[in-house]
Amino acid sequence: MIDGFIALYIFMLAAFTGYEVIARVPVILHTPLMSGSNFVHGIVLVGAMVAMGRGHGTLEITIAFVGVVLAAGNAVGGYAVTERMLEMFKSSKPAPKAKH
């Protein structure tokens, strides 16, 4: 169970993490990065699956079904376009060892 203050702590730390990860991004990566973060919230898929798995009755299952379709679209589509964009970024220098 994630309760009260624990949830708040997670929320705060995750918010700082998101900010720090993006803070020094060059403009050239803004579009792929927006697309990449768009992919990451595709994790809503697991929530939609759980909602569907617990759902009872036609109304709930229908809504959840739509939710799962949309969430899968978010995750898969987000991945497809982000990967396509990033795949094209190449350096003119012969592949330097990525320093990290």
């Binding site: 994630i2 009260g4 929320f11 995750a14 918010a15 993490t17 998101g18 990860v21 993006i22 060059p26 403009v27 990566l29 579009t31 792929p32 990065l33 927006m34 990449g36 973060s37 768009n38 992919f39 990451v40 919230h41 595709g42 994790i43 809503v44 898929l45 697991v46 929530g47 939609a48 699956m49 759980v50 909602a51 569907m52 798995g53 759902g55 109304l59 709930e60 809504i63 959840a64 739509v66 939710g67 969430a71 899968a72 679209g73 978010n74 898969v76 589509g77 987000g78 991945y79 497809a80 376009v81 982000t82 990967e83 396509r84 990033l86 094209m88 970024f89 190449k90 990525a98 990290h100």
Partner: protein, 461 residues
């Protein structure tokens, strides 16, 4: 002792959350970006597969069908979409995520399973934000795709939106106070209002401002996912959603700044369709034309050439020919650099994607802050399909609608060559003082055709 399924599920979410953050971090440098999305993708696959093990779930068959439908459609469209159409595709996939968050909230509220003030509040808020992001993103998609041509706007639309927002919050508050069980009508009304709000908020916003709006909805979807994560007790959703929410908010601010607009301005002023033409008379002097052969000589015997591409180049599909031209120059020993303005494409960074598609290495590409001082040492600034972003009026003419916008100082180069279709003012309708300068020559014609002519002429030198 056997490991419980719940533990495996939680462990997989833990791994996924870690991979998302690691992936995003790697995506923030061009050297490691490709690996970043792959790592994040691995996290997503692990989380999705392990979720099937969650105890007490039913409807596995339908669930698999739903994943297949959404996944296949998105994969095919995502692989096929042209790079120029990328902004609206991102809007579409983002809207789907918002819709999914809304759907989760709807299921929880209809079933009456959400309990307690905190859970109900977050559930309602996440649902409303998700629904707004869903309908708003669809409108943004429609506008960029050219399906919605006009911006619908009337006096007082801001007040109407405020009224809808207030009504949504009132209905939401009733649900939180009374609990959602037995109030199905209210739940329906909540989502209808939220969907209408998303549409009403987005319709008045002009196409030029859409990237900022899409980025904002991206952040909002993240927030909605995080809120629904609290309701479902799902740490992966909370962390991933919150990370995207804050990263997206920052990206939105960076984009708005790059476009010289404030977020409030974008959302509430209903401007951005096209800038109002300046009231001052056109710049003095005349435009002087030049032909391709002379340009080829000028370029071929330069030491340093800075190319300034704009969205017009991408529309003409000229980026491949332009890169061929640059390769011919590089082969002759000319130093070639690309100068990109943050709003050169349809969203910040879009032009980089389009150039990368043509094969231009990213280390030849510089943004405005990095290269502006270098124009003075360049023999030629070659402007292709760019207009407002090289208009020196932004520095000098206070009456110009783009006054104060950071621009590329192409006018400081020794010679300026502008490849342009005709003599008319550009997309925004603002006269460009650059075209009338003494050191500027105009090469009229289609970008792709002219670039091809230049390649031939330079190879013949």
């Amino acid at each position: 002792m056997p490991i419980e399924a719940v533990t495996i599920v939680q462990a997989s979410y833990f791994v996924a959350a870690g991979l998302f953050i690691f992936g995003l971090k790697r995506m923030s440098s061009p050297v490691t970006a490709r690996g970043g999305i792959v790592w994040a993708g691995v996290g997503m696959v692990v989380a999705t597969l392990i979720t099937f093990l969650t105890p007490g779930m039913e409807n596995y068959g339908l669930m698999t069908v739903a994943i297949a439908i959404g996944g296949i459609i998105a994969w095919v469209t995502g692989r096929r979409v042209a790079m120029t159409d990328m902004p609206q595709m991102i809007a579409l996939y983002n809207g789907m995520g918002g819709g999914a968050a809304g759907a989760i909230a709807a299921v929880e509220l209809f079933s009456g399973e959400a309990h307690g003030a905190a859970q109900l509040t977050l559930g309602v808020l996440g649902g409303v934000i998700g629904a707004v992001s869903f309908s708003g993103s669809l409108i943004a998609f429609g506008k960029l795709q050219g399906l919605i041509k006009r911006s619908i706007r009337f006096p007082g639309f801001n007040y109407l939106n405020l009224v809808i927002l207030a009504a949504t919050l009132v209905v939401g508050a009733i649900l939180v106070v009374h609990g959602s069980g037995g109030l199905q009508g209210h739940v329906t009304l909540l989502f209808v209002l939220a969907l209408v709000l998303g549409i009403a908020m987005t319709l008045p916003i002009g196409g030029a401002d859409m990237p900022v709006v899409i980025s904002l909805y991206n952040a909002l979807t993240g927030l909605a996912v995080a809120f629904e994560g609290f309701v479902l007790d799902n740490a992966a959703m909370i962390i991933a959603g919150t990370v995207v929410g804050s990263a997206g908010t920052l990206l939105t601010q960076l984009m708005a700044k790059a476009m010289n607009r404030s977020l409030a301005n974008v959302l509430f002023s209903g401007f951005g369709e096209s800038a109002v033409a300046g009231t001052s008379d056109g710049p003095g002097g005349t435009m002087k034309s030049i032909d391709a052969a002379d340009v080829a000589v000028m370029l071929g015997f330069s030491e340093k050439v800075i190319v300034v591409p704009g969205y017009g180049m991408a529309v003409a599909q000229a980026q491949h020919k332009v890169w061929e031209l640059c390769q011919a120059l590089i082969a002759r020993g000319v130093a070639v650099k690309f100068a990109i303005h943050p709003v050169a494409g349809r969203m910040p960074g879009h032009m980089n994607v389009l150039l990368a598609e043509a094969g231009v290495p990213y280390d030849l590409i510089y943004d405005e802050g990095e290269i502006n001082a270098e124009f003075e040492t360049a023999d030629v600034a070659l402007v292709i399909g760019a207009n407002d972003v090289v208009n020196p009026s932004a520095r000098t003419d206070k009456s110009s609608p783009i006054y104060g916008m950071p621009i590329l100082n192409a006018d400081k180069a020794k010679n300026v060559i502008v490849i342009k279709r005709g003599q008319g003012a550009g997309f925004s309708g603002i006269e460009n003082a650059l075209f009338y300068l003494d050191n500027t020559r105009m090469l009229y014609g289609d970008g792709q055709a002219k670039a091809a002519e230049l390649v031939q002429a330079i190879k013949a030198l």
